[in-house]
Symmetry: C2
Subunit: 475 residues, 2 copies
């Protein structure tokens, strides 16, 4: 076999996602023994791939697949404001896409097999045996001191200086954000949100009788600072931003933009509510900073939870409300008085244990590989014109469908074929993003996932070709 | 010793609470051996006490102390509308009165030693070991089916026919009531509440920007139906009632009045939110019915929790929202999305176990004895003119202080002497009941409790005598 054939075979393995970025290429000896290729030819082939930028040599270790842009689809364009499409409700989508018989690419739930459930269980056992009165007695707001202590250390990883006394624990980040909105806004008030952003935030704001105002966001840079500044000048009551790995588009605000956003809100005296539940899920290197880390005057209300890193059913979240501490504490007492004690003590014990660092390292690696694998599969299976994000953290992809393919129509047809996805309009208060779908990559990539993505591509292609659907999409 | 001396000694033991109602008198043999009293004299003394209505003979068992009104203080009078006094916040009182160094008669918390904490711990262990994915994964609203199944059975004990599908689980009854108010009222709306009623309800309504309107309530009959009907005619947005063992006054609405209240609200199309967390704590016989059991048209939103019967830190509550099911489900998703899973599964398992019936029987007996013991101690220690409720369930007493004794002044001074009580104005949105204090009886009665009540009586007497305090009370 010629070196070019060897190079092409290896290149296909890479494009098919059999060899993922970071994976080691077969060794020279392997190619000789299994492919019947001479050492010289093998080495030549490696060098060819290296010059094509697909692999890199590592001293005394061999050749490794590089994570090059060439493996990826182009990034989505800013969503063209399309006409309002039919509104879907987050929960109905959740219910329809979280059923076990479905390939659940629609929900952004973590995969239990990646979570330290048995460690959590052992801690629940120990705590409820050793201190039942703490495990089942009231944990009055602001919440158990041991938990607030470890959370303060946690906040330092995101660059923020937080004291245990600055923290109020909540029933998940969803309650934390509800309390922040209740403490800082009134019915009829306008609240700035990114677009796209998590539908739970949008539906919460709308439920409270507030008006969600969209700040255009791109996958590359997060919110458009120009628009943000303009809309801020119109005097909204508050802003809700997801600064790191925004669900669904994966955007991360640069430190410079974070500093700018915080100073703009501080100057305008507009409360800035941040939801930083994905920051821990950076694929490589240090986790990105929180908006809180740029907060000098206490205008940032920083919300977080362990739902994405430990387990969602713990419902352990917290908020650092800055200057709104008293108002948020009042809100907590009025809304649910206290949160369940045992889960809070379990989380405190787990975060204190050395286990957390090992766990989060594994989780980051798993998500990086899975997101890459799904991204490559979308590239393989979806029709030409498809675009896709390439996040540096989190576990979802934001896929822009070719012109004429309507996300809700695709969502409906995919359901009938046993595949769950989240249609774009969910992520906008005005039904934008009807050309997008969000795909969850939290589960290990396997044939079933690949088959589901192939089916999605097939359906998208059909939609693309059917004038009826084009018409529907345009409606 | 003469029979009269024997009778008087026994009578003192009864009035001192050494022999509580239901307790067995020393036997004839005991009196003979220990008191050196002839059998004839002992039997004569018993008969004397019997004619005085203090004891009763039980066939082949001996003489038992009767629970006669003579042992009790007169019932409180309807609170005279006094001028608005300084407002206290529930949490500050909670914080100040829940400290371990204090004799905590101020908080209505159950005593851990009466709660099945170890059984709950064993269940937490089993569930988190056997099904970690359920224990720590999401329990999406309306909540875990196994829990809703046992809760439906639970509702039948209160006379209501409820299907598991009618129930939404919540983070304690406090969130349940918040969701009901959020689903049925808007800012500025008027909400009818009993007066006195639990301050958590009042502060919740006020936090939400609704206006709490007081319906006068008496310990004997609960709300005054005439006033209720009048106020209902003024078109409030909702009512919140505690039909059974209303905290603090212990009132229970008769079935007739319950039926009337429900039909009035149904006719007026006014949502009726009930908080029935004390119904299970009836001292004797069957638990009282819920308002839900009289609901035919779905206008009753029935809230409950296990905080008073199992443990408050579980934060497992639920609501049967009737015709407001969808609105309450939306509210749940918007407010906290889901509640912690493990505590809900623990409660489901415990309620299903035979353990619950035994536990609740023990709890009812313990509370009956403790409430009686505290009532008798108040009678012994408090100044003349003191009045006190005599509830048939729950674990609090509502004590009316003599003219001139101000509850908040007494509360403050009691704190300095290491005794916590809850001052009456907490239980009114307009600072009424400044002549009342609530005393918690959830803990076993002992010398410490008796000493605390003696100190309270002493302080009340001093207040009563000090013109300065009378003046302050009148202010």
């Amino acid at each position: 076999m010629l070196y070019e054939d060897v190079a092409q075979r290896l290149e296909r393995l890479i494009h098919d996602g059999t060899l993922l970025p970071g994976h080691r290429l077969p060794s020279v000896r392997h190619l000789r023994d299994r492919w019947g290729v001479s050492v010289a030819t093998a080495q030549h082939a490696f060098r060819v791939l290296e010059t094509r930028g697909l692999v890199e040599a590592r001293a005394r270790s061999g050749y490794y697949v590089r994570d090059t842009p060439r493996l990826w689809l182009p990034a989505p364009e800013p969503a063209a404001p399309r006409p309002e499409t039919e509104r879907l409700r987050g929960l109905s989508v959740l219910r329809e896409t979280a059923t076990p018989d479905l390939v659940a690419l629609g929900t952004a739930l973590p995969d239990p097999q990646h979570l330290p459930l048995h460690a959590l269980g052992r801690l629940a056992t120990r705590i409820s045996r050793e201190s039942p009165e703490l495990a089942f007695g009231y944990a009055l707001p602001p919440g158990p001191a041991p938990l607030r202590r470890v959370l303060a250390a946690h906040a330092a990883d995101a660059g923020a200086t937080v004291q245990p006394g600055d923290i109020i624990t909540t029933t998940g980040v969803m309650e934390a954000m509800y309390l922040c909105l209740a403490a800082t806004t009134r019915p009829g008030d306008r609240v700035l949100v990114q677009s796209p952003t998590y539908f739970g935030i949008i539906e919460k704001i709308q439920f409270m009788g507030r008006v969600a105002i969209e700040v255009p966001s791109t996958a590359e840079h997060g919110i458009d600072l120009g628009s943000f500044e303009r809309l801020l000048a119109e005097g909204p009551a508050a802003c809700v931003l997801v600064p790191n790995f925004n669900n669904p588009c994966g955007s991360v605000l640069s430190d410079q933009d974070k500093a700018r956003v915080v100073s703009l809100c501080t100057r305008a005296k507009v409360p800035l509510i941040e939801d930083d539940i994905y920051g821990e899920l950076v694929f490589e290197g240090q986790r990105p900073t929180s908006l809180k880390s740029f907060d000098r005057k206490g205008w940032v209300l920083s919300c977080c939870s362990v739902s994405k890193v430990l387990s969602p059913g713990l419902r352990v979240g917290w908020v650092v409300p800055g200057r709104f501490y008293d108002a948020v504490l009042d809100a907590k007492l009025a809304v649910s008085f206290a949160s369940a004690s045992l889960p809070q003590l379990v989380v405190a014990a787990y975060l204190e244990s050395g286990g957390y660092d090992t766990h989060i390292r594994r989780l980051r690696t798993a998500y990086r590989e899975q997101v890459t694998a799904v991204g490559l599969a979308v590239r393989r299976h979806f029709p030409a014109g498809t675009r896709c994000t390439r996040p540096a953290g989190g576990h979802v992809l934001w896929v822009q469908l070719p012109e004429g393919v309507d996300a809700i129509a695709l969502y409906r047809r995919a359901l009938r074929h046993g595949v769950g996805i989240a249609p774009g309009p969910l992520f906008s208060p005005t039904g934008r993003h009807s050309g997008f779908v969000r795909i969850n990559c939290a589960s290990p990539f396997d044939e079933r996932t690949d088959g589901a993505l192939a089916k999605l591509g097939e359906l998208a292609r059909a939609d693309q070709l059917s004038p009826k659907r084009v018409a529907r999409a345009a409606r």
